[in-house]
């Protein structure tokens, strides 16, 4: 039987893995349609024995996050792939929510929902949800954040897009969303699917100093893709996202000029001009100007995270 969904949990052996796995296993009523693949990338055996018939453990050899996730995806049998980090956990009802979304949007390349942010004491700090269904190209180019644990990727679309890039890490999630958004539609549920632990002084294994450079590489790849401008144009339904599109083309023009890639810079500037002209009355909208001013950090994530001083 082909499982509906495979949950892939890469781990560096943190104790929080037990809570992550338990939260996935807690969806007892639909276990027959589900499998869990733990990819142990810690370089040493796991301390806990996850003895369950739907759990498979793969040992990779400190290959880092993208490779570990891709390995789990390669052995997965599910129609949808779901990637959970070992320090996050799922909320009750998440699997049924994905099943409902998949039934309602069978052609969507990505299903996603919201997440709640809590601190170590379990206090609710806020929630994140991009809240857009359909063509999300402008949103993911503009760095709107979909936490990977709240997303289920259609397996065939995931592989067609090439999976997570081992070379663009961190920002591997955004890079994959951007390639997917060029290829198909996203479907969203307002439901909260996952819990994310954050508080001031929070420690991460992600080398964030490389994020800006990787997002820039990813942006250039997206803007290089055939048909990108048209896809971005149709995706931007509000003045804010039209402004974000313009900002992306302007930033790319400047970067290519600095890198002495003259013809690419000229190409980008022409697309920027087209984006400007196509914006129409959005040009006089406050949101349009705000989008140009905003940094390349996700506006959706910013509000909740900055409100609690979690960056």
């Amino acid at each position: 039987m082909t499982p509906f969904l495979s949950t892939i949990i890469p781990t560096i052996g943190r104790p929080s893995l037990i809570k992550a796995v338990d939260s996935v296993l807690a969806e007892g009523q639909v276990l027959a349609e589900h499998e869990i693949i733990i990819v142990n990338d810690s370089g040493r055996p796991l301390e806990h024995n996850f003895d369950h018939r739907i759990v498979t453990i793969l040992n990779t050899n400190r290959r880092r996050l993208s490779v570990a996730r891709n390995v789990g995806a390669a052995v997965a049998r599910g129609q949808y792939l779901h990637f959970l980090d070992d320090d996050d956990w799922m909320l009750p009802g998440w699997l049924g929510e994905f099943a409902r979304l998949a039934a309602a949007h069978p052609d969507a390349v990505l299903l996603y929902g919201g997440l709640q942010i809590v601190n170590q004491a379990g206090k609710f700090l806020g929630e994140l949800n991009l809240g857009v269904t359909g063509n999300c190209a402008a949103h993911v180019l503009g760095n709107a954040w979909i936490q990977v644990g709240t997303a289920a990727f259609r397996a065939d679309s995931f592989f067609k897009a090439g999976g997570f890039s081992p070379l663009i890490l961190p920002a591997e999630e955004t890079h994959l969303y951007r390639r997917l958004a060029l290829a198909g539609e996203f479907a969203h549920t307002p439901g909260l699917l996952m819990s994310l632990l954050r508080e001031a002084g929070w420690q991460t294994t992600t080398p964030y100093e490389k994020v800006v450079e990787n997002l820039r590489i990813s942006r250039e790849a997206m803007l290089d893709a055939p048909g990108a401008w048209t896809r971005l144009y149709h995706s931007a339904q509000t003045p804010y996202w039209r402004g974000r599109n313009l900002k992306a083309y302007m930033a790319s023009t400047l970067w290519n000029l600095k890198s002495r890639r003259w013809t690419t810079a000229l190409s980008r500037s022409l697309y920027a001009a087209a984006t400007f002209l196509a914006a129409g009355t959005s040009l006089i909208d406050q949101d349009f100007r705000q989008a140009i001013k905003d940094t390349q950090v996700s506006a959706t994530a910013d509000r909740a995270m900055a409100a609690h001083n979690l960056y």
Binding site: T56, N59, N70, S259, R261
Partner: protein, 318 residues
């Protein structure tokens, strides 16, 4: 619960992706019969057939691991094997090809003396019945980027790649199903050196008959992969530094000139202008070589493997 993979380091990991062809047993035995301690090498069979492999004695050997993927194609299957591999060198063998005895020992000896990231031996190309056809004896050493960009193909089956170089290059491109091997060699050659062995190390099936490669996409994928490499800022200096003669300088200029034409045909005029500019820059850099007829012969002649052509000539004269 199933557990796959272990932790420890050894010299070589051979990864065989398989679609369940009966020749797999021959490939497997050719690896397991190498005259090296089993603690120095492992075999990872990635079964991408979507069905269980028929039971066989070799599956119980302690240095054998079997992974099941689900029709993910060769690049994903190989990357998956590489991710669980423990070897300092990775060797990718197809399920219808085989290693010759003593190959692994030769590679270990050379690896002890060379810092090269890609060690390879001579390849015996065979027909689908196993009869010898062409001998591929490249003798390319050091920076091989220009020859690889100009059509040379070093079979994976005869190659051992340092694990860190493989992973630093991002492994095989999953979007490619056919030119993924030459693409990997080019991306590794961008920053790493190659070292050849003297002996024949592997027999590799030749020709499209019986091949699992989707040849109809080969040309399109190959061009897309080449374009991505030409976009890399490391390419131009690496290409020139691997082109010391008029012949290779002509090949380097051709790489950008043909890309300019292709981009123009694809309706990407600005990119075409960019490539043309780089082609002119490469021609300017060639200096006096521009007056050598060999330069223009290389510039105008379509890409092809010099090694393959030499092997074919030798076969016909024999």
């Amino acid at each position: 619960m199933a557990i796959v993979g272990r932790h420890h380091n050894l010299f070589s990991s051979t990864i065989i992706p398989t679609i369940g062809r009966p020749e797999l047993a021959r490939a497997v035995e050719s690896v397991l019969q190498q005259d090296c301690p089993p603690t120095e090498f492992e075999l990872i069979v990635v079964n991408d057939s979507g069905r269980p492999l028929p039971a066989a004695a070799w599956q119980d050997r302690p240095n054998v691991t079997i992974l099941n993927t689900n029709h993910r194609e060769r690049s994903v299957a190989r990357n998956t094997g590489a991710a669980i591999a423990r070897g300092r060198f990775l060797h990718f063998l197809d399920d219808d090809d085989w290693l010759l005895s003593g190959s692994l020992r030769s590679v270990m000896d050379l690896a002890g003396q060379s810092e090269a990231a890609w060690i390879y031996g001579i390849t015996q190309l065979v027909d689908r019945d196993g009869a010898p056809l062409i001998l591929l004896d490249h003798r390319l050493a050091g920076n091989c980027f220009a020859p690889l960009m100009a059509g040379e193909w070093i079979p994976l089956q005869s190659s051992w790649v340092r694990s860190e170089a493989f992973h630093a290059a991002g492994g095989f491109n999953p979007a490619l199903t056919g030119p993924e091997d030459i693409d990997l060699a080019r991306r590794i050659a961008l920053s790493e050196d190659f070292a050849p062995l003297d002996g024949i190390v592997a027999c590799v099936g030749m020709g499209q008959a019986g091949s699992s490669t989707p040849w109809d996409n080969h040309s399109r994928q190959s061009r897309a992969a080449r374009e991505a490499i030409l976009d890399d800022p490391r390419t131009y200096p690496r290409l020139l530094s691997s082109a010391p003669t008029a012949l290779w300088r002509g090949r380097a200029g051709r790489a950008y000139a043909t890309s300019a034409v292709w981009n123009l045909r694809q309706g990407r005029p600005l990119r075409a202008v960019g490539r043309l500019g780089t082609a002119l820059r490469a021609m300017g850099n060639a200096g006096l070589a521009l007056f050598d007829p060999e330069y223009w012969q290389a510039f105008l002649k379509p890409y092809a493997s010099v090694t393959f052509a030499a092997g074919e000539r030798n076969r016909q004269s024999a």
